[in-house]
Point group: C2
Chain length 364, copies 2
């Protein structure tokens, strides 16, 4: 049987869970219809509203990972033959296109080179050209490249018939995500990034007009498991059995959100920003080249090309085996030449940066 180590998780996720989360996972299990669990679930949804900065009633954790959250948004909002405009500048924009296609949608791609941001004006122009598009979808924080795509200007979609769908998997609780203020109609995230909870749940939130669109569908969503009408009947108060809620993971999310809100969202954002600002120039000093351009560089997830001549795989393995530090390899065209370093959730600590830089100085 495998023996398991204690890792410092500085990859693109999962991050190390908050201590409160580990405690929640160790508590005796509750059933999914236990009144105490239902109170805990209600509090979890309230806390999600606080973290998403929204009043949206339909706000809950989907029982799957972040990719299930993505799929839940598309299968509920799209019907066959609908048009979806998707911003693509990395793996997750690409994934959105594939998920939308499998819903029978016509996909309009708005592309930018990997490692650069998508100009929001180009997205708005695509919407002008396809005014009947049902959804315009964009990734806020591209985990594959460390690039932040600007969402605020897309607020203009509120005056159109097109819903704004945002992937906040790596951004939520790491950098500001203002669902109501930015006019976001549907937003999904994941637990294992800046929320500091193990992977397994996907928080989602839907605006009133998104809910109206879902209610007005001509055919039910192709997924029964991710059907928000049915899930909402369980989470939202009617308590009608849909599927067995993953009670241990919901308790963990409840605790992680508690840790974030006890610290305060502003402080959490500041912590992530400060640590990114400490790590990134230090990496440059060590000879790394940052992938994302200044101004669109995520603090919580840094993509950096290694100094020339270094064996990416061997160095990453040494970091893991000798120091127990996990960083991520590059994806796509960055595979083998870049790393992705996360400072997210409970892993976003001064000590993490000191440890990583110390280890790198010893190895390089």
């Amino acid at each position: 049987m495998v023996s398991l180590s204690d890792r410092l998780l500085l990859g693109p996720g999962p991050s190390n869970p908050y201590p409160e989360v580990a405690e929640a996972l160790a508590r005796p299990l509750l059933g999914h219809l236990d009144p105490e669990f239902l109170t805990l679930l209600d509090e979890t949804c309230d806390r999600l509203r606080s973290v998403f900065l929204t009043q949206n009633e339909l706000t809950l954790p989907i029982s799957g990972t972040g990719s299930a959250g993505m799929e839940a948004c598309f299968v509920n909002l799209l019907e066959p033959g609908d048009t979806a405009i998707v911003g693509v500048n990395g793996v997750f924009g690409e994934r959105m296109c594939e998920v939308a296609r499998r819903c029978g949608a016509d996909v309009v791609r708005v592309e930018a080179t990997w490692g650069t941001e998508i100009d929001p004006q180009r997205l708005l122009e695509a919407q002008h050209a396809s005014p009947h598009a049902r959804v315009l979808a964009v990734v806020h924080a591209e985990t594959s490249t460390g690039v932040e795509n600007e969402i605020v200007p897309l607020r203009a979609l509120a005056d159109t018939d097109t819903l704004l769908l945002v992937d906040a998997v790596t951004s939520l609780a790491g950098i500001p995500v203002d669902v109501d203020g930015w006019g976001i109609d549907a937003c999904y995230s994941a637990t294992q990034k800046c929320l500091g909870v193990p992977p397994g749940l996907a928080p989602v939130t839907f605006s009133a007009r998104a809910v109206e669109r879902i209610r007005a569908r001509s055919v039910p969503p192709q997924s029964w498991y991710l059907d928000l009408g049915l899930i909402g009947d369980y989470v939202g108060g009617a308590r009608k059995y849909h599927h067995t809620a993953p009670t241990a993971m919901v308790a963990a999310l409840h605790a992680g959100l508690g840790a974030v809100l006890d610290e305060g969202l502003d402080s959490t954002w500041t912590r992530h920003r400060t640590l990114g600002a400490r790590l990134q120039p230090a990496l440059a000093d060590l000879g790394f080249t940052l992938v994302a351009p200044e101004g669109h560089r995520l603090p919580q997830l840094t993509s950096a090309r290694l100094p020339t001549g270094l064996d990416e795989t061997a160095l990453r393995k040494e970091l893991l085996v000798r120091y127990g530090i996990e960083v991520g390899g590059g994806l796509g065209e960055l595979a083998g030449v870049a790393w992705r370093i996360g400072l997210m959730g409970h892993s976003a600590r001064d000590r993490s940066v000191t440890t990583l830089l110390g280890a790198l100085r010893e190895l390089l």
Copy 2:
């Protein structure tokens, strides 16, 4: 903030996790690409093969609850226009019909009254009438009624073009499930029943001919998240990133399967059978009426009508509040008149039966 109790979970699931599972959840988290996690995942799949009694290569935990396992089977095996024959004698057979319909399938229902079993000959006759049906699906242990549907005679489907799909959510590790011996082509289960793990994962296994059918599809499955071709590329050895595996829950499943296999499958089945045989006549002595007929009565999940004149909801609440014992209410036509009592996984202990009967004697 809600304060949380320690429950004896004797409902239809979740059951109390094995102590080894709680320990696994308390361990430091691993990343989904950590070599140690990948070894743990491989061992988990091997252990699933042992518990499913199969050599099937495509055997893995789906990152969602049992209902996601159901949906994974249908979306991968069915294409629009296919015929699916479904046995319906409770909530979960009904759910299968709905999931199959959402895949665009024509559904042929073979019904039996709730609380009775489905005659396997009727299922085989339906297949004779629709020989081109792609799938014949049946629930082994109907959690809504406590009825066992016989699977063995359906082995005859191996000589036809119709795949045998079995729901083993409540049966796996509670009563014999012999995937290879019974010629099952696709089987799904859930962690929170007789495996003694919190809810959140759905073990699935697919025969070689089911895998061939999936490979020969003319269109990709409508779900990207549940696409077994893509998931298999991560779990099966290529380690190609699909979604972030829920590493804490996989570690929990690994531990739960370890507990089951250390005890031995035969002993686990005997334990469940013995305890059901102790509980059921004792309930009858207390004035309850067992729903499922002798010979098709599950030992691990007993559905029983309450003695006339008792307030089902009030009694169930008293059991929960005063003793911390959870039992389940009836579903569908059994709502308000029956209970569902689970003795599953770690909850399947002599002490559980003694405690429940003692509390009932005090309350009645």
